[in-house]
């Protein structure tokens, strides 16, 4: 208890000194981060705060805005065997503490990430690593795995010096990375940290001298902080505030990221949804453009296939699902349903309908569910919307019920992860039991072929089949908004960001 009292006195004294909020100096960008600041170890969280937002650390490979791969800490890589790869590191790169980036350092960092974060091992499939010389790292995977370079863009694989100061249980408290910014000050108790420009950075040096991050988890509060002028940059403010912010001179960028709003059914066996015509009818009765425009305020876009069309591995042969109420009704009649006097579709006396579960954590979900309810009513399908949590829905969804979720489609820039999870008969997200042997075969080809063209052809085929069968109905691509105060310029949104990314080329005007 005495320490609490001391702390209160300390806060009081500290507060008195800072009673008037100081203006940030011109070279400092003040960012409101949307999550709690758990810590700064890229291996034990998802790494996006350290890599994409604060730019303290870098990965071997990076994703360009079209999700194609580009060199980052690795200047190049080559596949030397079914399971072996050589990564040639960029020369003359140093960590923030001045020590050189070597193959041994990269190996130590990756080994640490694998031991701390089980997803790193699963996504990279690394079995062994060998530093061939100072700048060459040989990686052997557990199986033939063409997505290895892409998986090394996964933010949790970001390279940190093993000398980074750590806490009691091995978690890095102050990461020593190679990024364009280095850590200056971290106050975990106050949920703030500050990074400053790394003047010995190997690439183009940023123009901004420093960035201050503060956790502001409430979207309304972030909007108010912008209007107050206390922050310069944030993401995910309430959709309804965006127009007002534009009118006040703020720069608002509405972007699509790698996440899909997906309507999926409990089971595709022994339910009305087993009939592809019923699924197609539901899909055709949903007006996706209306949802994008009026429900999401432009924060998102009607889905054409599993991946947004600008993504390098999105199949370009897909035809966008068209809204067609008459066609929806026709399909249902073909499936054996007849409309009753009130317009409700019935088969053997039973009305067609389902309970649609969703959860409130992503702002678009509940309004989309309500819009779908209204749109499907016009086709004679009765939908009841219920709100729960993602985990509760997954644990208790009945076969004849449905779920609306926002599913991440890439954690690293490769199509395999999502297509396999969603459409393979044993896929981790395929809870509804979809099985198409052609899909399974194509996914197997993609895994074993060494030709990039064959691999893409296989993924194209999976996307094509997925849109023909529509085991789960893709509604829209997820949108994220980024709001900047006037004077912040030269910012380009990178859609491969998990939430949002800062851009080292950003400038502060005025």
């Amino acid at each position: 208890m005495p320490s609490v009292v001391l702390r209160l006195v300390a806060i009081a004294l500290f507060g008195a000194v800072l009673a008037t909020p100081a203006l940030a100096d011109n070279g400092t960008l003040r960012v409101a981060e949307i999550w709690e600041l758990k810590g700064l170890d890229p291996a034990t969280d998802d790494g996006t705060l350290e890599k994409e937002k604060s730019m303290l650390v870098e990965t071997l490979v990076k994703a360009l805005p079209d999700f194609s791969l580009a060199p980052d800490l690795a200047a190049s890589w080559e596949r030397t065997g079914d399971k072996t790869w050589l990564f040639h590191l960029r020369p003359k790169v140093t960590f923030h503490d001045g020590s050189p980036l070597t193959a041994a350092a990269v190996r130590a960092s990756l080994e640490r990430a694998i031991s701390l974060n089980p997803t790193v091992k699963t996504y990279t499939k690394i079995a062994a690593m060998d530093a061939k010389d100072d700048l060459t790292l040989q990686i052997t995977t557990t199986e033939a795995y063409p997505a290895l370079p892409a998986s090394l863009a996964y933010a949790s694989t970001a390279i940190v010096a093993t000398t980074s100061p750590k806490g009691a249980n091995g978690t890095v408290e102050r990461p020593v990375g190679t990024g364009p910014f280095k850590l200056d000050d971290y106050q975990p108790a106050a949920q703030t940290f500050r990074v400053v420009r790394n003047d010995s950075y190997w690439g183009d040096k940023p123009s901004i001298a420093a960035i201050e991050f503060r956790s502001v988890p409430d979207p309304t509060t972030r909007s108010l902080e912008l209007q107050k002028g206390a922050i310069d940059f944030t993401a995910e403010v309430p959709y309804g505030d965006l127009d007002a912010l534009i009118n006040k001179g703020f720069t608002v960028s509405r972007n699509v990221t790698a996440r899909d709003y997906v309507l999926s059914f409990g089971k595709l066996k022994d339910t009305p949804f087993a009939d592809v015509r019923v699924r197609k009818a539901i899909s055709t009765a949903i007006n996706r453009d209306e949802i994008g425009q009026f429900v999401l305020f432009g924060m998102g876009r009607a889905a054409i296939g599993p991946f947004e069309q600008k993504m390098a591995f999105a199949s370009k042969k897909l035809v966008a699902p068209q809204f067609d109420l008459a066609m929806a009704k026709k399909l249902l009649v073909e499936a054996g349903y007849t409309p009753d006097a009130g317009g409700t579709m019935r088969k053997e006396g039973k009305p067609l309908g389902f309970t649609l579960y969703t959860y409130p954590q992503r702002p678009g979900l509940v309004p989309i569910a309500q819009a779908i309810q209204g749109q499907l009513r016009k086709a004679g399908i009765a939908v009841e919307v219920k709100i729960s949590t993602y985990d509760a829905i997954n644990a208790s969804l009945k076969p004849d019920e449905a779920r609306l979720a926002a599913l991440a489609t890439t954690l690293f820039p490769d199509p395999d992860f999502f297509l396999r999870a969603m459409y393979q008969s044993s896929g981790a997200l395929n809870l509804w039991g979809y099985r198409n042997d052609k899909v399974d075969a194509a996914l197997q080809v993609a895994l074993t072929t060494t030709s990039d063209a064959d691999r893409q052809a296989a993924y194209d085929q999976v996307q094509q089949l997925a849109m023909e069968d529509e085991p789960a109905i893709l509604i829209a691509y997820y949108g994220v908004n980024v709001v900047m105060k006037p004077g912040v310029t030269n910012y380009t949104f990178n859609p491969s960001a998990h939430d949002y990314m800062l851009d080292p080329k950003m400038r502060l005007g005025q």
């Binding site: 609490v4 909020p21 810590g39 974060n117 806490g167």
Partner: protein, 318 residues
């Protein structure tokens, strides 16, 4: 007196234990596999990523989530008895350290808001009583009901827009200076303010019905003297347990206020711990909150016993 205190202390300890046990059981009743939630929220910051069962099992083993429930709870209690609250799953830091950080912010808000609401309520009620007008009493009652009824979130946003954006007097959110403390304290205090007014008015009614007030008046004391020296003093004793109860209600307000004003306190820590299934952090927070509430009740019991001999005598007779 000693046996009374010993009994009350035992009840206090038991209530903290029961609170943490309940929290533990409730957390396990939340649907979903705990290790899967940890894996997708802590390591992925996203609940919708596909994860393999092997990874889920690895996380369960590492954080001891695969042990039977009673063993998990037993381990936690065992640690706490040795002064070890364990490490937070999501940050890796000792829970005790993080709770110390968080507690200082919340304790400051709670103490200031309780103090402000008390002082203001006493002043308002005293002036109502001294004015001897029925309309002032009605007005006070309306103020009380109104301040209890306004949701903290809306009041907070309204105050931010008014005091922070329009009048430019105070910062919106954060916890870096005294200026940052003002708005959250106002929002928290207003809820308590209403309760305090309502309870004080009721207690004064009871006190004024007592014969000694008539005696005091008959002695020729002024209204003010009767109020200050006799009525308020006697109303204070039954008011103390209410005040302790208010601390429990304050926890609810703290959850909303800390999120809205971005205060890194116990409330936001509790919500994040629950969301990520961070069991050591969650149990530690519930334990600390329950401990604080129980301590307030215990202190109230002692105070009342000290101030009112009937209580401690009754305690010894039983």
């Amino acid at each position: 007196m000693t046996s009374y205190l010993a009994r009350r202390f035992a009840v206090t300890i038991c209530s903290v234990l029961v609170a943490t046990l309940l929290a533990f059981v409730l957390m396990r009743l939340v649907p979903g596999e705990p290790a899967r939630i940890v894996l997708t929220r802590v390591f992925g910051q996203d609940q919708t990523i596909a994860v393999s069962q092997g990874d889920v099992d690895a996380v369960a083993r590492r954080f001891g989530l695969d042990a039977p429930l009673i063993v998990q709870y037993g381990r936690w209690i065992g640690g706490v008895l040795r002064g070890d609250f364990g490490n937070s799953i999501r940050t890796g830091r000792p829970v005790a350290t993080e709770l110390r950080w968080r507690l200082s912010a919340t304790a400051l808000l709670a103490a200031l808001s309780t103090l402000c609401s008390l002082v203001l309520a006493f002043l308002l009620v005293a002036s109502v009583w001294l004015s001897r007008q029925s309309w002032t009493r009605h007005l006070a009652e309306v103020v009380a009901v109104g301040s209890i009824a306004i949701p903290a979130f809306y009041l907070g946003v309204a105050l931010i827009i008014l005091l922070s954006l329009w009048l430019d007097l105070l910062p919106v959110s954060g916890f870096q200076s005294w200026a940052h403390v003002v708005l959250p304290v106002c929002v928290l205090a207003l809820g308590q303010f209403g309760f305090n007014i309502a309870i004080l008015l009721g207690l004064l009614d009871e006190v004024y019905a007592a014969p000694y007030i008539l005696t005091a008046r008959a002695k020729g004391l002024t209204t003010r003297q009767v109020l200050v020296h006799h009525a308020l003093r006697n109303a204070l004793v039954p008011f103390i347990p209410y005040l302790a109860l208010e601390i429990a209600f304050l926890v609810g307000g703290v959850l909303v206020v800390e999120r809205l004003f971005g205060v890194p306190g116990i409330g936001s820590y509790l919500l994040e711990s629950l969301d990520t299934h961070d069991i050591p952090a969650f149990l530690g927070t519930v334990g600390v909150i329950a401990g604080m509430v129980a301590l307030c009740n215990f202190s109230a019991d002692i105070l009342v016993a000290l101030l009112d001999p009937r209580v401690r005598l009754a305690g010894e007779q039983i």
